[in-house]
Symmetry: C2
Amino acid sequence: MNVTDAILNRRAIKHYDPTHHLSEEEIEKLLSLAMQSPTAFNLQHWRFVLVRDPAIRQQIRALAWDQAQITEASLLIILCARLSVWEEPQRYWSKAPQAVQDFMFPAIRAYYQGKPQVIRDEAMRSCGLAGQTIMLAAQEMGLDSCPMDGFDFEAVGKVINLPEDHIISFMIALGKKTTDAWPKPGQIDYKEAVFLNQFPSA
Amino acid sequence: MNVTDAILNRRAIKHYDPTHHLSEEEIEKLLSLAMQSPTAFNLQHWRFVLVRDPAIRQQIRALAWDQAQITEASLLIILCARLSVWEEPQRYWSKAPQAVQDFMFPAIRAYYQGKPQVIRDEAMRSCGLAGQTIMLAAQEMGLDSCPMDGFDFEAVGKVINLPEDHIISFMIALGKKTTDAWPKPGQIDYKEAVFLNQFPSA
């Protein structure tokens, strides 16, 4: 499937065939592609929790407005990020020439050290980038998807044993739809979203 | 181009042919596709500033570690978000049935009201989703791209007249590459990024 069609056909799907199963190969392909998504300074801070255990799905559904897709979808991915990756840049730059490492490591430290909001922004942004990779790849693989942030983040973190220096960004349900999405409820005009050079002066 | 190839071929490209021009049609296609990216509650808060004026590009380059791609690329997109969209949900749900509106509007208010960090997280996440849409669509259109957050956000905000209730998430340079990307400097193992059901107990 070409990229344009994948973008145009993707909709947030709420109802899935609970008997549909993803193969191990499909799951690994999807996540390997997700790991090709860009991260600032190549720090690869995303962490993907694949929730396959039905009992854990039920627990999460109860923490997420009882949304059916959480238990009906073939796969539920919780996109998380590890916040402390910037402290060990050598782990992500081992194949770079020494001169590049000598330039990058102090730059990485200067960018993140003592800046928790910058670190958190990065986590949310990178998980967004990786999430769209997953949803468009899923589309090509004949799967539907639903991005979700309507849940109790803290309680879901406890359910999945979220380590202390990690945060949750959002979740994606994936599978075979049984019901189409609603017609789009309203789309803003191109001119409301796209500006040339600058925002207009107030 | 299929989705898998677009994902695998995308790399952050730093050097572009400054004589390459994007047509108005290409630009409009790219941004129209970006606007198909999902947003929570369909609030479509992303705002895209297309910086085409060479003088403004120079100003931004000076605020971004003098990175060459900022002036050499065919297009520079600054991905921003409007933070106050949740206050007017009727603007984004006008085509939905009344019953859906009656359910959604209080839910939207409850989700965002008085929660500036939740609103900010949403902005970063949505711009990440839209940014990957742009970069994968660009790949299909024969264009290269570079996502960037190495710049002075506040100073760039002044340059583009960023309105008070907006924030910048990141920038993307787009164009025709003249130099390939470095070999990947290091990739973490699948097992470091992907977990089954839960993170392991500490």
